[in-house]
Symmetry: C2
Subunit: 313 residues, 2 copies
């Protein structure tokens, strides 16, 4: 039995609004610099999900007037091959931003991603993962903040969901989402709790949140008992479900999403169980929630990096 | 009416144990390098509290076999004068660690401290305040972590207070204590909440903590109603109280601390009200709690910086 539906937060619409805000800046930069802002994207191997993410980033950038340079490396590339590409983009005049698509092939070793982040010029680090940029974020003076958590802030702001003095709970402590999300919410005067796989009594802690951010990578993990009635629930998870029983338990036997599953053999689900729509005050869908925001913020960061490089900051 | 007393956590004893652990490393470094680890301390002006802190750091370092080079600048020094000293210590072979004592004179401007932290060679940054070191701390790979929060972790460990799966609440979100404390507790698998001046219903949030860290700089702010019976309470505050009525309300009319006040005209108090001793399971005193730990961790960081520089990490 479902309660009344909470408001669905339309990530597509907010992402379009962010892109619209970025457009004049791109045009201004392009006419001033005599070239468009340049974004180098490095894709290693042929992970199907990465192919889709990268395709969306290339399309969105190109549509916004950014020059996107996709550099591909085979799955057999070494970490040194990858770092050589990064170093080439670091010294390039035309590349203002650099993004290396995760995940990297396991053969590159456990610390490959970290070595890449350490190598990218912090001024071109549009993902905001270089330790110097992470430190500046903590100190409240980031010029390039990680795209997903800063996209969530934009979504809350543009959806008129107040942050200051509210109680925010983040499930997940990744460097990419959980920790920077905590820092950004804290800077906006939320009281912030970070939970994780070893948190005791997680549903109880989560159910105190006015703003609940799920970023754990487990389909449907956040159920009704995690959610205070009326809370804003932000679903950062993008999980591919290829088990039909799981898909049924998430979407129910008569959902159009299950029809999708039967056509394609899999379906994408967030970290938040669909039943939460019946109790949340506001909820981001998956897909169409946080995902588009991440890409919009990438464009915003690319323009910021380009302008800062040109302005000599 | 006071309940039974919680255990007092003896910061002096734990600091002595940390120093004892550092001593063999100092001796080994000194015989290998032909010189002791070197710590440059820069003191600007003549703030009386800073004089005491610096004197303790110099004494503790010297007693542990570290070469401590105290560089003084007058209160009228400019930020450029200060940065010139820092740059000189950056390139010095004999200085492995550099510490600029806070606070800086207000005339240096609002961003003076940040400019200093940005200038110190990250490999010599024994305070752990350079953005690159802050970023590495967040990423769980700090080689130089801020002294006060890492001292608190040592205190908890050496007092057999478990951290993993416990609920920790930090009151205060400074770059020096609150935020790095959150990151260190998170890395040890605590569930962590950061509160601050704009937190709604602070006593209620604080009173859920198994581990409560007070770092706000307000004498006696944390009263009984902030504390769950049996919680470990860590008092990071060092506040000078020069109002007699406040001293009476903190320590009671017949306390030896009040006699101290009447002799000296002021007394030092923590952020935690003394009445909390009647409800906490464990509590750090002020003075003699976290303060000595901070200095012990400074020596540990100095040795770590010296060893890393020599070893080429």
């Amino acid at each position: 039995m479902m309660g009344s539906m909470g408001r669905l937060l339309d990530g597509q619409a907010v992402a379009a609004a962010i892109r619209a805000d970025v457009l004049p800046g791109v045009a201004e930069f392009t006419s001033g610099a005599g070239r468009p802002p340049g974004l180098g994207i490095v894709l290693v191997g042929d992970n199907p999900a990465s192919e889709i993410y990268v395709r969306n980033k290339v399309r969105s950038g190109t549509e916004s007037g950014v020059w996107v340079d996709l550099q591909r490396l085979p799955a057999t590339a070494s970490i040194d091959d990858l770092l050589a590409v990064v170093n080439r983009l670091n010294i390039s005049e035309r590349h203002d931003g650099i993004l290396v698509q995760a995940p990297l092939p396991e053969a590159m070793g456990r610390h490959a991603a970290q070595r890449v982040f350490d190598t990218i010029d912090p001024d071109k680090d549009v993902d905001g993962f270089h330790p110097a940029n992470v430190g500046r974020l903590v100190q409240g003076r980031a010029h390039l903040a990680p795209c997903t958590p800063s996209g969530v802030i934009e979504l809350l702001d543009r959806s008129d969901i107040p942050i200051a003095r509210r109680y925010a709970v983040i499930i997940g402590r990744s460097d990419i989402v959980g920790k920077p999300m905590a820092m950004l919410l804290l800077q906006r005067d939320a009281t912030v709790t970070i939970c994780h796989s070893r948190t005791a009594d997680l549903p109880e802690v989560a159910s105190r949140a006015d703003i609940l951010v799920a970023a754990i990578g487990r389909a449907g993990f956040v159920t009704r008992d995690f959610v205070k009635p009326g809370a804003a629930v932000i679903d950062v998870g993008i999980n591919r479900v290829s088990d039909r029983a799981t898909a049924v338990s998430l979407f129910g036997p008569s959902s159009p999403r299950l029809a999708d599953f039967d056509r394609r053999g899999s379906v994408v689900a967030g970290d938040v169980h669909p039943e939460v729509a019946g109790i949340a005050g506001a909820l981001t869908p998956v897909p169409g929630g946080v995902g588009p925001l991440t890409i919009a913020m990438l464009l915003k960061n690319t323009l910021a990096a380009a302008s800062a490089r040109r302005g000599g900051r």
